[in-house]
Symmetry: C3
Subunit: 311 residues, 3 copies
């Protein structure tokens, strides 16, 4: 049986490090800790979280910082490598071995693949991966699952579509893997150029059935959860190609006329124009709910790995 003790001192590097039972346990603790997101608490009083952001990510940084403050803890850190010792040529291993003297937990964001796992190997305090390279963003996957569970009451049995840039977007890699631990029908909708990489696909296909499409229209009527990600111009060698793709991967009221009435739309944010602003006020839109769920999920993780959950 999975319990709180299994998480104390643990690194959160990849969603793949967690079993289905462990993920379910985290989601259960998130549900229980949710009232503290409103009331605040002192359960991490005197504890310090370091946010080491080697690439900027205001949203993720503010989410972690708020989570720590809501639990009564303090926060140190930097939000840009330019202001850090890194500029003086210090290695990540040394940075981590310094910061662990100050902090009880390190939240790391880094442009390089594997940086979070590398840091965790050197650190004597737990490390949470807040995004490293193109591969992993485990807390985003957990908050996505938590949002689906909260909004739909379950994850199993749902038809879920991931749409947009499935090749480079780190959030969809972590999420697709996480979903493959559940009994879902997974639709991957992207232009050919931005299909999910074969190695990610193979891994997921070993557990659940996957349906690949290049258009959302034909499948939208059967979808329960539509997860939209941004398609970046820079990915296309040819602007004409980009212009074509862009139009057909944009969600607006017109296309939503074909959707189930209880469809929910998620997005990791920031959104540019891949979801029309007119959608914001419909019941489909749950992307801003995700933000609050991110706060709650991160509160649950911090409380768990710092040993503040007893059960």
């Amino acid at each position: 049986m999975v319990g709180a003790a299994d998480f104390v001192g643990r690194d959160i590097i990849s969603i793949k490090d967690f079993t289905r039972e462990e993920i379910d346990y985290i989601l259960k603790i998130a549900r229980e800790i949710e009232p503290l997101a409103r009331s605040g608490s002192d359960i991490l009083k005197g504890r310090i979280m370091a946010t080491l952001f080697f690439e900027p990510s205001t949203r993720t940084r503010l989410s972690f910082e708020t989570a720590m403050y809501k639990l009564g803890g303090s926060v140190i850190g930097f939000s840009e490598p330019e202001t850090s010792s890194v500029k003086k040529g210090e290695s990540l291993a040394d940075t981590v071995r310094v910061v662990e003297k100050y902090a009880d937990v390190i939240v790391l964001r880094h442009p390089s693949e594997g940086a979070a796992r590398f840091a965790a190997e050197y650190a004597s305090v737990p490390v949470i991966n807040a995004g490293s390279g193109a591969e992993e963003h485990p807390t985003q996957a957990l908050l996505d699952l938590y949002t689906i569970l909260k909004e739909k009451g379950r994850i199993n049995g749902l038809s879920i579509a991931l749409m947009g840039d499935l090749r480079y977007g780190r959030t969809v890699h972590s999420l697709a893997y996480a979903l493959s631990l559940y009994d879902v029908r997974l639709f991957l909708v992207s232009p050919d150029l931005l299909r999910m990489r074969r190695e990610v696909l193979e891994d997921i296909k070993s557990r659940i059935e996957i349906f690949e499409h290049t258009s959302i229209e034909e499948i939208l009527p059967e979808i329960d959860v539509l997860y939209v990600t941004r398609i970046q111009k820079e990915r296309f060698p040819d602007l004409a190609e980009y212009a074509k793709v862009r139009g057909s991967y944009r969600i607006d009221l017109n296309i939503l006329s074909k959707a189930k009435s209880d469809l929910i739309i998620l997005h990791p944010l920031p959104r540019v124009d891949e979801i029309a602003v007119e959608v914001d006020s419909t019941p489909f839109a749950r992307y801003f709910h995700q933000v609050e769920n991110g706060l709650i999920t991160r509160m649950a993780l911090l409380a768990l790995i710092l040993g503040a959950i007893k059960e």
Copy 2:
């Protein structure tokens, strides 16, 4: 009758949104809360303030942050747009709808006119305008009023001169409007090029008498409060013109020999050389007192809009 309940959840966008009675009430609460600026308190424990500074303003940011800490709350935010999601093309509306999930109040500084009011329309939590565009800086106007009230014991009946750049300085627009709600004689002293804009003037003239001058010397003997602002070189097409103007809008001991003995000099800071350093040690100088009064006024506003004042 104005009471604390009138302020709970309220946005602070423009000084024009407040009646004379409401302003007087804020100043009264500032006076009452002043002891907490020294002792600290826990009346906003568990509450979170977000400082979203889309243009840097160390002074204003530190003032708000200190106010929140003195009340026992926590602070998240960013001090430069470069480190924020804005770089990724996110709209202000989306940024606000994300941050409101984290924070109980948003303090916004933005280079564009109207940005604070726009943000307030989207946010479900109160928004405080910490300066937007060239027009409004309402908390600066409130702290200026509080300083005058505290130092002179009253606002009504005073002769007050605003000097320097009255065209572009946002603090003087808010302050001139606020003063026009009181029974004061208002002197506007500026080079022709930097006269207060007609539309601001007309509005004020409908309530109080205004005297425009291009030199402070002739009127200084009758002034009770001299509010100095900086004249920026960039405003002048011609450096020779600037050099001429600069000299005659500089306050030093020599010119002050003509002042009333109980004149007080205010300045929104930062000061460059428009007030000579030799003035700092005279009893005229109250510009550093303003800093402390800014802290107190902002504590009062935060406590009021977050519902921590009961009466």
Copy 3:
């Protein structure tokens, strides 16, 4: 007799402002406060520290911030001048007179010689020098002493070598002075180009014996404490000269075969390659211990100057 009362409200500008008895007292308080570095405390609850970093120094800033949080206080400030009012041309004197209205103590880092002392003259709250110009870094010297005392049980009677850039490194100047108050044998090991400046040397020589060397090898067998600093390429007019020097001022397992078994190696960090990574896992390596001792020493200083130590 030195007591806690001697430190209340005191500036920490230069190690030279402290007598041997005062330094010993600070080290004693550091030892006593050490348990709070783990448990946290509330002895500075409601107090605010401002970190004004006019040049970036992540390590030092995080150390001070953690120290303040561990004592229950709050922190405001900036980590880069670009985001501060300084950009608008404000003088350091004005910045300090503003910030003292917000903070109970100011921690200043500045590229100019004398900036900290200058700031302290204007500030009515205590100022701690967190590094200014090339001369002084008093809290680094104190943490170095504390590390030596803790690791060796004493300072008197030890043979201590300072190695590397002794000309420009501000930490070695403060440390060499501090050590000269004790009964130690001091070895200075550097390339000719980077010898300690004559004026620093003369001052120290008046109190203790000094031995200058250009190579560590010959003296290593008699050394108890080896303090390594980085040699920067930019100091050398000629890259060939730098390459030659660099090799012989690098500590690795090979050279350490000649060391005493209880030698300890210190380094102010960040380290680049002047200590080989293979040394990290040996008992010689104490440079990461210094980091924790820095936190403890700064907690002691903050508690002392803010009057939280009673004895």
